[in-house]
Symmetry: none
Subunit: 290 residues, 2 copies
Amino acid sequence: MAEPAKSSPLSELRIALPSLPMRLQEVGRFVAANDYDATTRSMRDLAAVAGADPAAFTRLAKAIGYSGWDELRAALTEARRPLQLAPFSVRAKSRRHGPNADVALVTDKLDAEAAGLLRIPAQPIAEAARALHIAKRIWITGYRSCRSVAELLNYELRLFRPDQVQIVGGSGPDDLDLGAFRPGEAVIVIGFLPYTHASVRVVQAAYRAGATLIAIADSVAAPMAEGADHVLLFEAASSPGFFPSLTGAIAIAQSLAAVTFSLGGTAAKKRLQDTEVRLAAASTYVSEKG
Amino acid sequence: MAEPAKSSPLSELRIALPSLPMRLQEVGRFVAANDYDATTRSMRDLAAVAGADPAAFTRLAKAIGYSGWDELRAALTEARRPLQLAPFSVRAKSRRHGPNADVALVTDKLDAEAAGLLRIPAQPIAEAARALHIAKRIWITGYRSCRSVAELLNYELRLFRPDQVQIVGGSGPDDLDLGAFRPGEAVIVIGFLPYTHASVRVVQAAYRAGATLIAIADSVAAPMAEGADHVLLFEAASSPGFFPSLTGAIAIAQSLAAVTFSLGGTAAKKRLQDTEVRLAAASTYVSEKG
DNA sequence: TCGGCCATGAAACATTTGTTGCACGAACTG
DNA sequence: CAGTTCGTGCAACAAATGTTTCATGGCCGA
């Protein structure tokens, strides 16, 4: 049973999270999402803000293998210590460079992205899904790298709402679609810095048409968030590397699709089955047993 | 009473430093040099390491206008707080509030995906990136929902290797591209259960052509993993919900692109800059200041 | 040299911190 | 339905934290 490499205490925490009791999960999520405050504020302070019992923090620490909250916090503190030349306590980090600097880059990136996921607010996604549920038609927009997110969302939503979902510009010039927005329809725009002009035009068209606007963006200050009915935030710049990260946006898109599907009830389930049957009949897939 | 503009607690400290008694200067310098530990360790700990009296820290804080060490430390803590989406106080309640089933679904999904990311093995990704680095040409394949991953990878890689990367079937029937694979080229295939016939054909073609095959899949038993030079695993079924999750695949794709880019060194950096300049010139993006 | 002043370290203080024992209630088991 | 386990909040506990007080010793002006 090879353990999956305990890189940081936060990783351990996040891995153990799903198998923890409910209250400990809440507290664990809070710690993961607010790890900076976890290292600086006192346990009781955190408990007050998180709305939990102080004892829960001690129990959480023990549940994931530490002797107590103090030890967990110490580990978190060391993990987020900035690199420096003259070490406070001599502690050489063997990663960072060497023959496996690449591996370290990957590990750091994945860890940062996992942390980013836990900071995504869940409530707005659920609300946006309700808006999608009642929308007569759903338009999806995303340019450049965000196009991939748009297409995934389009794909998943079409699995159970085949003829009510489409990508803006998916079948012709974007401008034609802009004029087709109607009240009662929903328009989803995905984008982050730097923002494209095209996406801003879509937002304006949606606003003018009186359609429900859902923005998936990296900042409330994003142009597409202006006047949006639902703003779903993720961290694009959190992870090390050179390109903005789309992991958060993808996770939001998938959650959105999942909740919308569950709101669809049996009707949605039936349409999904129909779609699956059709795909199987076209022998798109390799048969399960080889 | 008008204080001379408190920029940051650290600069106040440095300004006041020369006019302080000798021992307080020592302590002040220590705090300035080790401000991270100042925010995380206890006053007594710091005193022990600095070789000073605990009381000196309280006196230092008062000497530069704070009510005590606690207040100084709080200021230091706030000063080095990383940027984030919402302030600490507001963030607490937004998650998992109320007996809301939809919100719980989203939260569970995000948790599971975060944990899934941390289970992704980093080593194979770094090795695959090296293979991409030396490849003369890179082909990318992904059908159905995996198409979005393929397109993201294509987009990011083309930013710094514009004419060496393309999606299989991106410019015509897939079959035409299958015959174009050559030794020394790399073929990336993304897929998970249920596997499409088309992706298996690509794998076979790559194998026959002697190209380097990189498979991004949810299982070593996946058809596209057979005979692959590099297999990058992620968990597609880990998260609750109804569709397989692509978050892991996206994270792998982005890590792959990031490492390949960093292997590219200055040459890659230069090409990326060229691309950015071209995009800016075409005024694709909204200018930063509005 | 004396007297006042200030810097300094040690010890005592009240407070806050993390921890643990206990009781209640829900969920599961036989 | 009783018996058990487990998760949870509350409250008391000992340990630690930051602060204050006090005694000491060096410094400067008279």
